[in-house]
């Protein structure tokens, strides 16, 4: 099983691409950051509104900006996958070894998973439907506020752990 994961995680084509094109790694870094800003602009603002900041904004309309956040997340996932699968080109360590030994990468992935579960809880508990009906100035229900606060904290954690990953390579 271990050897299958190790085989699947290392993409020689990505390594060759990154080795032959010195611009590819910095470009991915730039796009990773842009993705992060898009994610925070849309999802972070939605979370802040759930927490009661800028209460005059209708959540129904903020919800429409979430696709921008999804675009940002996709950009982060694609560039992040390039970083991991082609990491041999940068530091000479097998991605599976990095995944097994880099505690910050592990924590980042766990926090992304938790953020996903948190989003799932937002929909499964019916909070997504409830907050869409709120009028400007209305407070979000306590459960929605809790989910919004958790989401914000988890995404801050993702950024924090993400910045620490290179220091443990």
């Amino acid at each position: 099983m271990e050897s299958i994961i190790a085989y699947w995680m290392r993409w020689p084509s990505v390594e060759v691409f990154l080795t032959n094109n010195t611009w590819a790694w910095p470009l991915c870094e730039i796009l990773h950051f842009i993705g992060l800003i898009l994610l925070f602009g849309a999802v972070g603002s939605f979370d802040l509104r759930l927490l009661g900041i800028a209460k005059g904004l209708p959540l129904r309309l903020l919800d429409r900006l979430v696709p921008w956040g999804v675009c940002g997340f996709v950009l982060c996932v694609v560039t992040g996958t390039i970083f991991v699968t082609g990491i041999v080109a940068n530091v000479g360590t097998h991605p599976y070894v990095v995944l097994k030994t880099n505690v910050w990468l592990q924590l980042k992935l766990i926090f992304i998973l938790l953020a996903g579960l948190n989003l799932l809880a937002f929909h499964l508990t019916g909070m997504a439907r409830v907050v869409r009906m709120l009028q400007p100035g209305d407070d979000a229900p306590p459960l929605a506020r809790f989910i919004g606060g958790t989401s914000l904290a988890l995404w801050i954690g993702v950024v924090y752990f993400g910045r620490l990953i290179p220091w443990a390579l």
Binding site: N21, W23, P26, I37, G41, S45, I53, L57, V159, Y160
Partner: protein
């Protein structure tokens, strides 16, 4: 440049640079990014409204986001100052870093001017279209943030890699802009030219009206 060397050799800065503690260099680096997303993230939301991407959003209630952006700005400035102090001599000779700082300063000036116009208590921004000047200021702010982010990432690189990465980024952005323009044109055309079904309905309506008129 003696004062820069003095700054670099300061006991606290030396500890930040050389310590492996989580309270050392990495803390400032991570919070520099966190500050940036809290500064630029809400700015994107306000820009989306100003530039017509989120037309229904009211402008006035966005004012509290300014406080969040202020917090993000202070986190970025404080952590950025500490990071700069860890290698000031290198940074002041780095053209990419100077471009980054210039872009940030200009972005803050334009952003301040745009927010001042939007949240002016004597004007009801929601009752009238956003002035062209405000739209221009907001567009300039977004472009400058983009330059700051790109330069910020490229500060760690030098020479040919910077130029090649910049070229690759410009090509990427051109492709994205072209796709966005084509998609917009396609949507506009779809709105202007009625589909075959719509045309068929239109003809049926005309025929029905003619029959009615004949009576």
């Amino acid at each position: 440049m003696d004062y820069l060397a003095l700054l670099q050799d300061n006991a606290f800065i030396t500890w930040v640079r050389e310590s492996e503690s989580l309270l050392g260099y990495t803390l400032y680096l991570a919070f520099h990014t966190i500050g940036m997303v809290f500064l630029v993230g809400p700015n994107l939301l306000i820009a989306a409204r100003v530039l017509g991407l989120a037309p229904g959003l009211p402008i006035k209630p966005m004012r509290p986001l300014g406080r969040i952006m202020n917090v993000g700005l202070w986190i970025t400035v404080i952590t950025g100052s500490v990071l700069f102090a860890t290698a000031p001599v290198g940074y002041v000779h780095n053209v990419v870093f100077i471009v980054k700082i210039a872009a940030i300063v200009l972005a803050l000036i334009f952003l301040r001017a745009a927010l001042h116009q939007l949240f002016d208590p004597s004007i009801d921004a929601d009752a009238q279209p956003v002035p062209v000047k405000t739209k221009r200021l907001m567009t300039a702010t977004l472009v400058l943030w983009l330059i700051a982010v790109v330069a910020g990432r490229l500060t760690a690189y030098s020479g040919v890699v910077v130029i090649a990465s910049l070229g690759a980024f410009l090509i990427f952005m051109t492709v994205v802009a072209a796709v966005a323009c084509l998609a917009r044109l396609g949507m506009r055309r779809k709105r202007l030219v009625p589909s075959i079904d719509q045309r068929a309905t239109f003809q049926i309506d005309i025929q029905a009206a003619a029959v009615k008129g004949g009576k």
